[in-house]
């Protein structure tokens, strides 16, 4: 499945240079580009919902405290066109996510890149740097 996904992502390439950053209308108000995150954890939930899909992961810090982070992704239709399905990510999968954190200080962020722990496969390309609000 993941191999198929990788082929889709590299072969289609049609819309891959343009990402969720600018497609998300309130991005600048919600997320802070200067607050970049790179977190590794285990998926607890993948919600294939409109207007955006959401991915939740448990992240354990050095003190052993677990925090559940939520990552906003693109819309299901945009992800589907890129080869994703609602079962592309499953609870229990290990992932490393690069993201922009929410301005409100909550454990929300906007996912920019997802790397599967088991295979090293990168599922989301970094977003178009020209796409964001000025």
């Amino acid at each position: 499945m993941r191999k198929t996904l990788a082929v889709w992502l590299s072969a289609i390439g049609l819309l891959c240079s343009a990402g969720t950053v600018a497609a998300h209308h309130g991005f600048a108000a919600e997320f802070d580009r200067s607050k970049t995150l790179k977190l590794t954890g285990t998926i607890t939930k993948f919600e294939w919902t409109n207007p955006h899909a959401w991915l939740y992961i448990d992240v354990k810090n050095d003190d052993g405290i677990v925090t559940n982070w939520a990552f906003e992704m693109s819309s299901p239709n945009v992800l589907y066109r890129k080869g994703w399905t609602r079962t592309s990510l499953k609870p229990g999968d290990g992932v490393t996510i690069e993201a922009f954190r929410a301005r409100d200080g909550s454990y929300n962020a906007n996912a920019q890149a997802i790397t599967m722990t088991s295979t090293g496969e990168k599922l989301l390309a970094p977003q178009d740097p020209q796409g964001g609000p000025k």
Binding site: A23, G26, A29, P51, P76, N77, N108, P133
Partner: protein
């Protein structure tokens, strides 16, 4: 009807195993066909790929046919329609509103509340293609984002002098040579021209000029004439569209903005109890 019911029953009773096998065998292909549809009449290169530099398709009347699934390859127009190089002097009320929207970084962008885009921004969200269906009497535009549509009438009707304001306004089109010229008025107030928040009022009148350059490319020039917001009409930089020759629209809805269920962007509290 009786025949259909009878036939369906025969299929169910006699060929159920075969039908199931067929469905299972083709389900993967069906998904691929939905995302990567092929269309008859698509010009192709010797290696079989769509020839995007091929000729402009023509209607039986000899006009360019704009039909197809299109998108922009850049967010720059939906982000900031005039861009940096176009002077758009505003009346004081619009200038104050624009300043406030810049200051709050688009916090109250209508789409954050599941409200629609409009003309021309509904066509400019690069990730969300739109489909043009051109007929003799009207040209229909279907937008993937929010499953919305727009009708451009080419049957000779004129815009109403006192329209009931509408999010997408009212559009009439005519051909000037190979350019499809569309006049749009009757807009409802509430939409923004772009994500940074260039204002618009009910006085807005838009002129669009579409030119299909070849099989895979189409340009659009937009004139914004809104005396309620701007001291003079202005032209946006030419917008470039690319055809998606083997693609289809995919449903997208706002679903009461379910993002809000997960976010606290609109409230002042931490989210710690989501599991």
């Amino acid at each position: 009807m009786a025949f259909l019911r009878s036939t369906a029953r025969q299929i169910r009773m006699q060929n159920l195993p075969a039908v199931l096998v067929l469905i299972l065998a083709t389900s993967g292909a069906a998904q691929a066909q939905w995302v990567n549809a092929t269309y008859p009449g698509t010009p192709r290169t010797p290696d079989g790929k769509p020839d995007l530099s091929g000729p402009v398709p023509k209607t039986p009347e000899g006009k360019p046919d704009l039909s197809g699934v299109w998108h922009t390859e850049s967010f720059r127009w939906v982000q900031n329609l005039p861009g940096e190089g176009v002077d758009v002097p505003m009346v004081p009320s619009a200038a104050a509103l624009y300043k406030q929207r810049l200051k709050t970084m688009g916090e109250h962008n209508p789409q954050l509340y599941c409200l629609p885009h409009s003309v021309p921004d509904a066509m400019l969200v690069a990730d969300f293609p739109f489909k043009i269906i051109q007929t003799r009497r009207e040209t229909v535009v279907i937008f993937e984002e929010f499953n919305q549509y727009r009708q451009i009438f080419t049957d000779g009707r004129t815009l109403s002098k006192d329209p009931n304001p509408a999010w997408f306004g009212f559009s009439t089109g005519k051909w000037e040579g190979d350019t499809f010229v569309v006049e749009v008025g009757g807009f409802k107030e509430g939409s923004w021209l772009d994500n940074v928040g260039h204002p618009r009022t009910e006085q807005l009148h838009i002129t669009e000029r579409y030119r299909r350059l070849n099989f895979g490319s189409m340009d659009l020039d937009v004139t914004i004439n809104d005396p309620g917001a701007y001291v003079k009409p202005w032209n946006a930089p030419t917008i470039h569209f690319k055809l998606i020759p083997e693609g289809e629209l995919i449903e997208h809805l706002c679903e009461n903005n379910r993002d809000i269920e997960h976010e606290n962007f609109f409230e002042d509290k931490q989210s710690t109890d989501r599991k």
